[in-house]
């Protein structure tokens, strides 16, 4: 098991290096390069730009710039934002909470609702519920998250006036209830696709578990049907779901990016798009690396949790 985790970790590290290289090259070949914003300033002379390049070390060969950047990154110096000169890690740090709050809430919704639909679909196979859930999941997977968000805002904010159309809280009101009120719509919007994914996997996993011998044994012993379902079937079906939660992370991050845009949610996704618009490359690069590390850590944690929970896998 330790060997498995080590190989996964080293694989992830190699990937991280490749991704950072690709990102670095993309940003340095973009028109105007990292200084495109300053280049637009009419007060800047060629000499000024050359001086800034000299100061930032942008006149060196690309691979030296990369190694220099990577070495600083490892030491915790992720550079400074072009907007205001704040350290990149501080800028990202200000936006992490909002994204994690949104992702965490919608993941919990997705797991709760998806698990319920999946189990019910498996125990009532080929019923009307099962049929609707199957077709509904396919439609849910086809709806663009941002469009679902817009429709949600139109109905629940503009027409009915029940929920706020954006932002994480009302300025001047920092109460938990206010946060919760703002959280409802975006987290439901973000969870839609994942409810579909979870319910499909849970249905398959439950059907697999139902046909296992230990379920027959439990039934033969006279264990009540409800207990068989909750303890034996669901208990075993939930195990692969932990891995799935890790696998789903990139897609949740993608969803969070557009959800944050639609709901003006002050998270990392919005920060990424803002920074891209302003050609704030240190922050763009920082977020690229940060999201990669987040996903890798998530997958690693999922693997470890499975190893701990599943008695068949022993940590050596």
């Amino acid at each position: 098991m330790r060997a498995f985790l080590l190989s996964r970790l080293s694989q992830s590290l190699v990937l991280l290096v490749i991704v950072s290289m690709i990102g670095f090259v993309i940003l340095s070949i973009s028109p105007g390069g990292p200084l495109s914003q300053q280049g637009l300033d009419p007060g800047m002379t060629q000499a000024d730009i050359a001086r800034i390049k000299e100061q930032l070390g942008l006149n060196r060969p690309l691979w030296i710039q990369y190694l220099d950047w990577a070495w600083r990154l490892v030491q915790g110096d992720w550079g400074h934002s072009f907007r205001g000169g704040t350290p990149v890690l501080t800028v990202i740090g200000r936006h992490v909470f909002a994204t994690l709050l949104l992702m965490g809430t919608s993941t919990m919704i997705a797991i709760a609702v998806g698990t319920w639909i999946g189990i019910r679909g498996a125990t009532h196979r080929y019923s009307l519920f099962d049929y609707l859930a199957t077709a509904g999941a396919m439609v849910a997977l086809s709806i663009p998250t941002f469009w679902f968000g817009l429709v949600g805002i139109y109905i629940f904010s503009l027409r009915l006036g029940w929920l706020p159309a954006g932002n994480m809280y009302t300025i001047g009101d920092g109460s938990a209830l206010n946060y919760l009120h703002h959280l409802i719509l975006p987290s439901i919007v973000l969870s839609l696709v994942h409810v579909a994914v979870w319910s499909r996997y849970m249905r398959t996993a439950t059907l697999d578990a139902i046909s296992q011998d230990f379920v027959k044994t439990a039934r033969a012993k006279g264990v009540s049907e409800r207990r068989v379902l909750m303890k034996h079937v669901v208990g075993n079906a939930l195990l692969p779901m932990i891995t799935l939660a890790g696998v789903q992370l990139p897609s949740i991050l993608t969803g969070a990016l557009v959800t944050e845009t639609v709901f003006t949610w002050p998270g990392m996704g919005r920060l990424f798009l803002d920074s891209l618009n302003y050609s704030d490359y240190p922050v763009v690069m920082g977020l690229l690396m940060f999201s990669a590390v987040l996903v890798i850590l998530g997958n690693l944690i999922a693997d470890i949790v499975v190893a701990i929970v599943d008695p068949r896998i022993r940590l050596a």
């Binding site: 396919m138 139109y154 990424f272 891209l276």
Partner: protein, 292 residues
């Protein structure tokens, strides 16, 4: 299978069991009908509508649906929404379809080589696939699109580059099991080259999973184009796409909700249809697949 062709009576594909099963899959038939209709409308429709998609009419700004001959209303510049929707459909469907073709070619190539050769080649290829599958590629895609300010062709290539991995994985699994079959061993004993066996013997037999992956990949490609264009980094105006039609729609959500609702509905219908077709094909061709 030209080298070993055995003369058999020509079997017609519509008599096959797969075609029968597909024709009995109601959702798949619905999807097929909707895609046919949508494609026809996008190809022929713009010629039949009374307005050109680029025709600006500032007196008819923000007309709601069913105003005069503006069946779906007009946008902030008074352009006819129905005409724009159909022209955008051409772009979105074309980008989705082309991106699918490119990713199928790359994915099938990687999958066949990895599955047939095995060993370290397979290990390197498939670990690369795993790696890129587990990565939030949207950040990289957006950075690339922002840096290049790309043409529709480049957008298509960028989308294809993020979608080939799943095809590769499906094909690799299929090829690995086909490799051990008798007809492959026979070809090997006949002394046929590895390339011939991979692409003339094995690949035609792996077409089932590839076709299923193709229809699901079109769905995902259309969706990704919509995401990128919605965020402003995909297809650039004045060229309309379903995604970029939604780009400015949010600010008019209160006064002109149809600007947001209609293009999004078109995306949802197209993507749902391709997903239904994929599901029907999966059942018809009896492809086992744990991806959704």
């Amino acid at each position: 299978m030209t080298a070993l062709a055995v003369s058999t009576a020509p079997s017609r594909w519509w008599h096959s069991r797969a075609a029968y099963r597909f024709m009995n899959h109601r959702l798949a038939l619905l999807g097929l009908a909707m895609i046919t209709l949508l494609t026809l409308a996008c190809v022929v429709g713009p010629y039949l509508l009374p307005y050109d998609s680029l025709n600006i009419d500032l007196r008819a700004r923000f007309a709601p649906p069913m105003t005069g001959n503006h069946y779906l209303g007009t946008d902030p510049l008074g352009r006819d929404l129905a005409a724009r929707l159909l022209m955008a459909g051409r772009i979105s469907l074309l980008v989705g379809f082309s991106a699918m073709l490119i990713s199928i070619v790359i994915g099938a190539l990687v999958g066949v080589v990895a599955g047939y050769r095995g060993g370290w080649i397979s290990a390197v290829l498939m670990r690369t696939v795993d790696g890129f599958l587990s990565f939030p590629s949207i950040f990289l895609v957006l950075a690339l699109a922002a840096a290049l300010r790309p043409s529709p062709l480049m957008i298509t290539v960028i989308i294809a580059l993020t979608k080939w991995m799943e095809v590769a994985r499906i094909v690799e699994t299929e090829v690995r099991s086909l490799r051990e079959r008798e007809f492959v061993q026979a070809s090997r004993m006949l002394g046929l080259s590895g390339t011939h066996i991979m692409f003339r013997e094995i690949l035609p037999n792996a077409m089932g999973p590839i076709i299923v992956a193709a229809s699901l990949t079109v769905a995902r490609a259309i969706l990704l184009e919509a995401y990128i264009s919605f965020l402003g980094y995909g297809i650039q105006p004045p060229l309309p796409s379903w995604g970029n039609m939604l780009n400015g729609a949010q600010q008019y959500l209160a006064s002109a909700p149809w600007l947001a609702i209609i293009p999004g509905a078109a995306i949802t219908i197209a993507v749902t249809s391709f997903n239904f077709i994929g599901d029907g094909l999966r059942d018809a061709l009896d492809v086992r697949n744990d991806h959704i």
